[in-house]
Symmetry: C2
Subunit: 429 residues, 2 copies
């Protein structure tokens, strides 16, 4: 099979320039070329394309003695709005961003964990988007795309469909259900969103290979190796939550026994606490987020059973992270997700104490494990970044004076509904 | 951090052309350009370089009606010899290849599993190479490089050193110990060798993402994702053998408990058989390879305890492969290594029966698990291929009329001893 690198590189040049702008701030064409490794000519072509599409604007012109004036370019925040939507088992969080991915506002809608009708979830998504964007028609018209993260297996074959074992969904076509929005919808999986956020707005400025471990009801890992986001052949890579901690161990909702998720997902924490103290009052908390919040509060208050819970959970988590590191030899792991936010203060130091028992010596020396410093909702931010990539691809597709050597791969999961997305035209080399 | 893709691509162009020649056989420049996605100009430059270095020769000239004569190029097998050396816990196998990586001969030296002195192992390596190449000085002079696969952690920082827990080696500088060979030595790890073999001479012609699981005394996985060999930050990726099957399970030689290797490595098979039938006569076999060979013979003869051994081992193996697939979503796994060769007939069908219990549904549908079809010793072949890449890099470094924008990354582990390797000069763009 022919390597795809040359083609991928061509189609990714736009994203490279975009990423450089986020990393460098206002930049000259030369700085963009140097940072991306792209030729000056390629950068100049893309910048012209972006300027004519209104995506970039000239932030400043510098006149150095003896040289030509240099234009500093930056993303034009007001060119449009992008909504990143984080759909979890227990809530929908919709975050409105400007085009430079600055956060303008958000709205959250609670989901009943017991409800699994796709129409119910879709209604929650629409209400969250409505709440975040507001009723003003002018503002709604500025939204150039919505990126929706769905838990479960979001696969791009034959359009987008979602397999979500937690909801017993099979082949639910979420983008068709969202057709009434009349806005381009990009659907992906939270693990892909959190790793893109980390690559662009987190430790990606320091390392090329990393994993982001997402802790919530479900758990999983977004993975980047040598600067590439790892999707897997069916966009299902990163299901670290469904790797083994213990053969024939606790039942997991995926149907297997002994998966990592059954120990370090929020319901797994409850199981562990029940093993430590079957009569513990927090076990009466029905809602997962309430349970985890109360655990954090109880830890602060010195509850000894909860201290044991942290130590056991840290051991499980370190064992699972050890597998990730031993297999992929990544130097950096960040933790994200609502359960991590609630517990990281106590959990991360305890995990670090356990890691030497689980990581091979060669990979342990430089290993960093820390809470993610990506601001805000990393899932929503990552989905907004994918949606922005998609918007730039459409801009490129629409530019007339180019030839197109091969079909451009589109990010997995992009909705190609007629009427909302320009049909493919000639593309950049 | 700037993406490395552009630079990597530039330095890998040579390998792309080489790989295409292996995949296509005798090819025109146009065919090479089409297959690699490289520009015609880049291919023409590299072909000129390879022709002048004697690496390629013109196999045929085709005169089509109306067109220019087309030269078909092929690797010149007699330009030199490359020795690929597979150093395992129990043997050294040295395989002599021509430059087209055809096998000319090999020699094997047994290693005592109990001996761990580096000088003893190095002596075995030298004797195996001597045996394979023979005493003829003319033939020895044709050897352009030796690629040595060492078990354990072969890391390229500060030259090459090897950490091998099985031998209690720390920082053993194997390439210095092999200095007397007076031939460029490339050192790497068998997992990197088997995946390169699989990418170039196995299922890599059909898929871009795959894992090769190496079963012997130790076990591990070579990994390729989206056409790229995964090395990890310290060249230690692929230590699947040291991911968990069972927290607090069997003691593993890495110091952890419950690793996959403790169940499916050759000593793990013996432990499982002892659990099934502590008095089984095969447990008196001291040497691992003898033990595994006898297991294969006993299975053929219908020994019921050994049938149970295969079923339990298949379950362990399927659980470990399930983790690999759930995490990386690879569509194809091949099995290689001497233990796989002995047992695959019985083991692989049993593993396939178990996989549905361990692999997420989305990744299971298209998953193929099969014995590797790479011919001969895949470790030695992969090491020869790395050594050939290294030789081509040196050819490129030696060509004078080029500028060099950045230092070219060399494959991890290449020995840079003065006197045997040309010092870096100007390089191709
Ligand atoms: Zn599971
Ligand atoms: Zn181990």
């Amino acid at each position: 099979m022919a390597r795809h690198t040359a083609r991928d590189l061509r189609s990714e040049n736009r994203f490279e320039v975009l990423h450089a702008l986020f990393e460098l701030g206002p930049s000259t064409r030369q700085e963009l070329a140097r940072h991306t490794g792209l030729s000056q000519a390629t950068v100049a072509t893309l910048v012209t394309e972006f300027l004519s599409g209104g995506v970039l604007h000239i932030a400043a012109v510098e006149r150095n003695t003896g040289g030509r004036p240099q234009e500093r370019l930056t993303i034009a925040p007001d060119r449009g709005r992008i909504v990143g939507v984080d759909v979890a088992e227990t809530y929908v969080d919709a975050v409105v961003h400007d085009l430079a991915l600055g956060v303008l506002g958000h709205a959250e809608v609670a989901l009943d964990e017991e409800e699994n009708d796709p129409a119910y979830v879709v209604d929650g998504i629409v209400r969250a988007i409505d709440g975040a964007v507001g009723a003003d028609a002018t503002e709604r018209a500025r939204v150039i795309g919505v990126g929706v993260s769905m838990p479960g297996h979001v696969h791009p074959d034959a359009g987008v469909s979602v397999f979500a074992p937690n909801w017993d969904w099979h082949d639910v076509r979420i983008e068709e259900l969202l057709e009434d929005l009349a806005i381009p919808v990009y659907v992906d999986n939270p693990l892909k969103a959190v790793i893109l956020s980390e690559m662009w707005f987190g430790v990606g400025n320091a390392v090329d290979s990393m994993a982001v471990v997402n802790l919530g009801t479900g758990v999983g890992a977004g993975i980047a190796l040598d600067g590439s986001l790892i999707r897997g052949i069916t966009n299902n890579a990163g299901e670290w939550g469904h790797t083994l901690l213990e053969l024939d161990g606790r039942a997991c909702r995926c149907g297997r026994r002994g998966c990592v998720e059954a120990y370090v997902g929020a319901p797994g924490l409850r199981t562990t606490l029940a093993e430590i103290d079957p009569g513990h009052p927090l076990l009466r908390q029905q809602r997962q987020r309430d349970f985890v919040e109360r655990v954090a509060q109880g830890l602060a208050a010195g509850d000894p059973a909860l201290s044991v819970l942290v130590l056991r959970t840290a051991r499980y988590l370190a064992a699972g992270l050890g597998d990730l590191v031993n297999l992929l030899d990544v130097p950096h792991i960040t933790l994200t997700g609502w359960a991590s936010e609630a517990l990281a203060d106590r959990l991360v130091p305890a995990v670090r104490d356990e890691l030497p028992h689980h990581v091979l010596p060669g990979s342990l020396a430089g290993l960093v494990v820390e809470p993610s410093r990506v601001p805000g909702n990393a899932v929503a931010l990552g989905m907004a970044a994918f949606t922005l990539q998609q918007f730039l691809t459409r801009l490129g597709l629409a530019s007339p004076a180019r030839t197109r050597p091969r079909p451009d791969p589109e990010p997995a999961g992009f909705s190609r509904r007629a009427g909302t997305v320009p049909s493919p035209g000639p593309d950049a080399a």
